[in-house]
């Protein structure tokens, strides 16, 4: 693939990450399905046992239960993996120029990216189907 096509994808994924990342952050704050929007809700001021809050485990997993949000997270993961590992490829290719080094860098990034994508997808699917991992 020509570098211009790869770079176009790099810029577009960057843009999508910004949009989806904003949704992600909003979902964990103002759009979170909790009444008082506090991050952590303790049982009492003296007893720090978590009973709720937007970052409470069951509150977060509740978000993943819908297919819409699961799909959005999956998309965010896809864009992030491409953007991050293509970025690494570019940076490392500049640091270690040369045909052999670039081949090693490209394939290494591809393999690491795929592993992280599969692992992340597994998390999202398990959350969606089973409500937790």
């Amino acid at each position: 693939m020509r570098e211009s096509k790869i770079m176009l994808l790099q810029y577009l994924t960057g843009l999508f990450i910004l949009v989806l990342g904003t949704f992600h952050m909003l979902l964990l704050s103002v759009l979170a399905p909790t009444s008082n929007k506090v991050l952590y809700q303790y049982s009492s001021p003296t007893n720090h046992t978590l009973i709720g809050g937007t970052l409470y485990y069951s509150t977060v997993t509740a978000i993943y239960h819908t297919l819409l949000w699961g799909s959005i997270f999956e998309l965010l993961l896809t864009f992030l993996v491409f953007h991050i590992f293509n970025g690494f490829r570019i940076i490392l290719s500049e640091q270690f120029p040369g045909a052999k080094a670039e081949k090693i860098i490209t394939y290494s990034m591809l393999i690491i990216g795929l592993i992280i994508f599969i692992w992340g997808s597994r998390t999202i699917v398990l959350m969606l189907l089973q409500g937790g991992i």
Partner: protein
């Protein structure tokens, strides 16, 4: 009594030149040497260097030719910035210490003389000439003044190499084409007489081509002729981006009327 240069004004003050000395043939580390130079009105840094060569240390090596900012031979780093030594007035620097280094991102031939092979090789690789199918044009290619305006800015390059020295990508990526070559590539692609876009495409749209520019803008900042290579790179990116969706078509200018005088020369 201080030795002064003829043709200049009175001695205003004495400045210290701290010059980087390095000879790769001698197995010694680079070092800085200091020279006291009496500054007369109108003296440039190149005049200061020539003063050192003539009166203080003839072993100092520097490259120069026209002394009037045309040839680009005397580009060097003066007080941390790439400049032409012949165009830099010592008094305008307003410093008592002038630090002079050879251009960065190049090997050093000796002292202030950089090895510009990389610059010339990259320049040559982008085919810096009008590419046409015809081998022997017996006339002139017609071009409107407005068409020339599109690339006029980029014709000012004197190949001094200052932009490559300032470029942060050049410092890490040895295979990067560099701002000079990319600006010249755009200069010819934007030329209405040229038909060589596809011949240059593989090189420009490669892993070490136009996309590796970080847009630091240092090349444009230091260019002594105001060429603005950073702008050329962005324009080139625009051309390559459009080319993804719609194949970039060049409509090379038509040949003017046949000229007998040209035929006779050929």
């Amino acid at each position: 009594m201080e030795l002064v240069l003829k043709g200049f004004g009175e001695v205003v003050k004495t400045v210290t030149f701290r010059v980087r000395r390095y000879d790769p043939e001698k197995k010694e580390m680079p070092k800085y040497m200091e020279y006291k130079v009496p500054v007369q009105k109108g003296m440039t840094v190149l005049d200061g260097i020539l003063y050192i060569k003539e009166h203080l240390d003839p072993s100092l090596a520097a490259r120069y030719s026209c002394r009037m900012g045309i040839c680009g031979s005397c580009a060097m780093i003066i007080n941390g910035k790439e400049r032409l030594a012949c165009q830099t007035q010592i008094l305008e620097l307003n410093k008592d210490l002038i630090k002079v280094d050879p251009l960065g991102n190049y090997d050093t031939v000796k002292d202030l003389v950089p090895d510009l092979s990389k610059l010339f090789k990259n320049h040559e690789s982008v085919k810096p000439y009008i590419v046409r199918e015809e081998t022997e044009p017996y006339g002139e290619y017609l071009q409107l003044p407005e068409e020339r305006e599109k690339y006029a800015l980029f014709t000012e390059c004197i190949m001094c190499g200052a932009c490559l020295s300032a470029c942060p990508t050049m410092a890490t990526d040895d295979l990067y084409l560099g701002p000079q070559a990319l600006a010249q590539a755009y200069r010819y692609i934007a030329d209405s007489r040229d038909a060589g876009f596809n011949e240059r495409l593989n090189l420009l749209d490669s892993k070490h081509g136009v996309w590796r520019c970080h847009f630091a803008g240092a090349c444009s900042e230091v260019c002594p002729k105001g060429v603005d290579p950073a702008l050329a790179i962005q324009l080139l990116r625009g051309v390559l981006s459009k080319n993804i969706f719609i194949k970039y078509k060049q409509n090379p200018a038509k040949l003017g009327p046949e000229r007998a005088s040209i035929k006779e020369v050929l």
